[in-house]
Point group: C2
Chain length 147, copies 2
């Protein structure tokens, strides 16, 4: 039997969140957290609406998932996020001890990879899942902003 | 006239917050944010109580200060925190564009300096203010935990 719960399947849900951010005029980044093929947290960037630089999609998803689980560690969870996390979000993922992190588009300027932020040694990383869709959404967002 | 609003003056207020964390069984770290010599945010670590790895003192202070100011950038603000920020908190400070960051004790394992987290180029840093008091509080906390 074909497993429907692929990384692409879950990244599509994160992209839906990114589109919700887009519609609100927020930089379009979305994230979900999954445990045993069940989505336990979904969020999108809300820095403008909340007037808060810490309101990145990943930060909200980490808080929501811990709240759902009743514990602060996300050891059996996977995060799907449309854009490569920044230093802050990668630092939060470090503390969460999350098992798996999948991101879409790379962020060559502000992404954690270039800046050398340390993830938890137990976190497995997968890059570039539906990257084109995620970066196309970002491109459209900034093109509209410049108009 | 002597200026009462020294870095030590404000760090004492951050230490009071750290003591409140201690009393709650939280790793004792406190933070305040100051603008024009007025404290606009005060917080302490609440990761245990809130079951949330993102609930560091600095993160809460950044959110509270932005809420107070009605804007997400902390350009004219100073953060006083008893312990050197981690990657996550330093990453959040980067986004906040805060003017000044003063910390007490260094964190040689998890601190942003060793891990190379980038602060905003406009942020001025001062280290070691009431460092002894801050590390003594940490030492007492972990000594009691080990009992």
């Amino acid at each position: 039997m074909i497993n429907p719960f692929t990384d692409e399947y879950f990244m599509k849900k994160a992209l839906q969140e990114a589109e919700m951010a887009f519609e609100k005029g927020e930089i379009p980044v979305g994230a979900i957290i999954v445990v045993n093929n069940t989505v336990i947290a979904r969020s999108h960037n809300l820095t403008e609406l909340l007037n808060d630089v810490t309101a990145h999609a990943e930060m909200q998803a980490i808080t929501a998932a811990a709240n759902y689980l009743g514990g602060k560690y996300l050891k059996d969870c996977a995060l799907y996020v449309t854009l490569e996390p920044c230093q802050m979000c990668a630092g939060a993922l470090y503390w969460s001890q999350i098992s798996k992190m999948v991101f879409g588009a790379s962020d060559e300027h502000r992404g954690y990879q270039k800046l050398g932020t340390q993830l938890h040694p137990k976190t497995v990383v997968k890059r570039g899942v539906l990257a084109h869709e995620a970066s196309e959404l970002m491109r459209r967002f900034f093109a509209e902003k410049r108009k």
